[in-house]
């Protein structure tokens, strides 16, 4: 059964320990640069009619560490950091030519040290030889990241175990300056007597997003699954390059239609870090409220969709009803059923509806009671629960190896939640109960979600009546210097999403990379399916509930 785990985290790994570990592994001294956020230059209220208020000058994010390495030092440095428990966060490739005179490419691997800082390891690469030793053999969670960098920037990870293209499908798309073109795409399939292939998608039978799944099966049992995604690649990251910080917001917000608060928040936090801006207290707390509303409607809908995966229409219908009620609450609160257009750099763009706020507590508690009684009926249905139990098991070891985040990680015993581990905005003043489970099956993911519904509802009910008064936005501080980089994360309904943002000349965006929670979790889905029967795939898929759009971008 799920259990509630500790609610506070203590920073225990010092910057010095990290410097020593990396220097020792490389055999020479390595300069470690704390990238301190710029001091808040007295953010002023952007709220119409309100006077400039004094805003606490505390900067809401901890230091990141930055290390510049030679390419042969990248893997030894990662190995040293793994000794300190480092986990892969994201890998980003970019062109340095846009922020300085000298041309050249670079890659950055960002890892998180538990109870310690985030470390960005940068390797600069010459434009005529954009290759480096692949990190995937040592850090399997980076497998898709490196393939994406190859497709989009032509940077070749030498020794990557899977050199197939990821983002660009045939027919070949915009030529990248690749030194070595990626191998043509062929699905990985199993061979042997009685093994057959079952191709599914990209256009699926239900109202869902496109992706191609190729099962190698014997009878009903899946031997191997190869998932091919990125059908909905819209070129989001390339599109925002050269745009202003304000112009990029509605685009990043629409990376995924049901994690809009999460993605607007990671973007806003990164911009606030780059510009030394601190959102006013009301905005910080309202962001928590909106993030929890987002988690709530997603989780309630996802519980219903798990019922759909198991063919249990009672749950689909009853929970779909509650989800619709939550969408209507969203609309009363923000004017938008999916909460778009509210969170923005500096705080919020639009205020929350006052009448919507006064009734929010009561309605959310009422809906939570309904959901709880539906879930009680569901877990008493032996036929339903037996479909979920032992289905799609993600072991704790695999979850860590592949870097699973969010519910997928927590249901497999990986105790992680950015709301508690790296709190930002209002979360710094709140104790968030982190729900965990150990079985790692669809049932565990169902239980974790069901309990998180209660946690989110309680947070909303608590906050709705006591949002601090005052302005909802601060004016952005100074213009970022070209080449400045900021990273920010947020725990969304599907787990931790991270955004990497590099400023270009004139306050424009030089490069933006969004590593969504779904991007981190997809490889895990593909690995848990073998051993299950083909008809359980929709159920396993729904129990992870990943989004294709923010994976593909």
């Amino acid at each position: 059964m799920p259990n509630v785990t500790r609610t506070t985290a203590v920073a225990t790994v010092s910057n010095r320990a990290i410097g020593d570990a990396v220097s020792m592994a490389l055999g020479h001294h390595i300069a470690i640069v704390p990238t301190t956020p710029r001091p808040a230059s007295g953010g002023t209220s952007a709220d119409a009619g309100a006077r400039a208020t004094s805003i606490p000058a505390t900067v809401p994010v901890a230091d990141d560490l930055f290390i510049n390495l030679a390419r042969e030092d990248l893997n030894p440095a990662i190995a040293a950091l793994r000794g300190l428990g480092a986990r892969h966060l994201m890998f980003v490739a970019f062109d340095l030519g846009s922020v300085r005179r000298k041309s050249g490419l670079a890659v950055e691997e960002a890892v998180a040290i538990p109870h310690g800082p985030i470390v960005r390891l940068r390797v600069e690469l010459p434009a005529d030889d954009p290759t480096y030793p692949s990190i995937t053999p040592h850090l399997p969670a980076a497998q898709w990241d490196e393939r994406e960098a190859r497709d989009l920037h032509g940077i070749v990870p030498v020794g990557h175990p899977d050199p197939r293209p990821l983002v660009y499908h045939e027919p070949a798309q915009p030529a990248v300056p690749a030194a070595t073109p990626a191998a043509p795409f062929r699905s990985f399939v199993a061979h042997g007597e009685g093994v057959y292939q079952l191709p599914v998608g990209p256009i699926h039978a239900g109202i869902i997003e496109p992706g191609h799944f190729r099962f190698s099966a014997v009878g009903e049992s899946v031997l191997y699954l190869d998932a091919r995604l990125f059908y909905t690649h819209r070129g989001l990251e390339k599109l925002v390059e050269g745009k202003t910080l304000a112009e990029a917001l509605p685009i990043v917000e629409r990376a995924c239609g049901v994690c809009t608060v999460t993605h607007a928040t990671v973007y806003s936090r990164a911009v606030e870090r780059l510009t030394g801006t601190v959102p006013p207290p009301r905005a910080q707390m309202a962001r928590v409220l909106l993030a929890e509303m987002e988690r709530l409607y997603n989780h309630v809908g996802d519980l219903g969709n798990i019922c759909a995966g198991a063919g249990f229409n009672f749950g689909v219908s009853r929970l779909g009803w509650q989800k619709e009620r939550l969408l209507r609450l969203n609309e009363r609160l923000t004017g938008h059923r999916y909460l778009m257009g509210v969170v923005a750099p500096g705080g919020l763009r639009l205020g929350l509806d006052a009448r919507g706020l006064t009734t929010l507590s009561t309605l959310v508690i009422e809906i939570e009671h309904e959901v709880r009684s539906i879930v009680r009926l569901l877990v008493r249905s032996e036929g339903f629960m037996s479909r979920l139990q032992t289905t799609g098991v993600l072991t704790a070891q695999e979850a860590r190896r592949l870097g699973a985040v969010g519910v997928a990680g927590r249901a497999s015993g990986v105790d992680q939640d950015l709301r508690r581990d790296r709190p930002a905005d209002g979360y710094r003043d709140l104790a968030v109960s982190v729900i965990g489970a150990s079985a790692g099956d669809a049932a565990a993911r169902f239980h974790v979600r069901a309990q998180e519904v209660g946690v989110s509802a309680a947070l909303i009910a608590d906050l709705a009546g006591r949002l601090p008064d005052g302005p909802i936005a601060a004016l952005l501080g100074g213009e970022p210097r070209p080449g400045d980089v900021a990273m920010a994360g947020a725990e969304g309904p599907r787990g931790a999403s991270w955004l990497w943002l590099m400023a270009g000349p004139g306050g424009h965006i030089a490069r933006l990379h969004l590593r969504s929670a779904s991007f981190a979790n997809w490889p895990a889905v593909a690995t848990v399916v073998p051993g299950n029967i083909v008809p359980d795939f929709p159920l396993i898929n729904k129990s992870f509930e990943l989004c294709y759009a923010c994976t593909d971008r």
Binding site: Y168, I207, R234, C256, E324, G341, D353
Partner: protein, 297 residues
Amino acid sequence: MLQFATRGLPAIDPTRCDKNGACVEICPTNAIEFVVGGDLASHPIDGILVLEGGLLDEAVALANRTAALEYASSRPPTVRSAPTAPSVDAGRCVYCAACVTACPTGAISMTSRTELARPRRAELIERPELAGDSDDLLVGDRARARILAAHGRSLHVRHLDVGSCNGCDWEIAALLNPYHDVQRLGIDFVASPRHADLLLVTGVVTRNLEEAALRTYDAMPEPRLVVAVGACAISGGVFAGSPQIRDGAAAILPVDVFVPGCPPRPEAIIEGMLLALESRRSAERDAADAAAIRSGR
């Protein structure tokens, strides 16, 4: 502090607009535009264009006389009496309210109008005020009657995501929840395009999905209808101009109805399907079909 009930298409009050252009500048999807003079001839026929009174006559006198004449003759007569304020293209607007906050004269306000489906792309720009009935029960009743007349019993719908953020997809899924329950109207979603009468397209049309989209459409039996759902499927939405996309479904498929919104509310999608049923068939044919049904064909 600005806050809104349901955010729908913004309305511009021409008496308060001083044409300073702040709304045009800030709009993230270039949905707002007005042209005063300038190179009229270079504007595409279906472009976003509002001519002020008398400007049409001036246009004829422009250097590129032929093109201007062609342009003028192709416009519906309503253009002559077009408002003197900027126009809002409902097919691009994402209801974000940025223009409302940017307007220094307070000429722009958000409305709650979201049911704005139109069979022709250009009508989303010129006459979004001719929106259908906002009462979803009435739209539902009309849809049921039309489905009965046109298809005998039911309308089978296939959803096709060609690169949406999945917001539109979730609103389509919401059509099946107990609140909207479109099955009560005779609408059902089918697993294969071979069983479908109508294709609900969401998303920008990515390069990676172009072929799959065409093959899905090709697999549908005739007669077939196509409804483009959401700003992305109409114009590319906030992603318009990305080299990885085709800026909307009309680039590759014959679209019968465009349903604005980001995402469109479920009621707006129902209205769009209803309009699609109405768009292709004559009243006589509907009456004949209805008579055939009644006589137990």
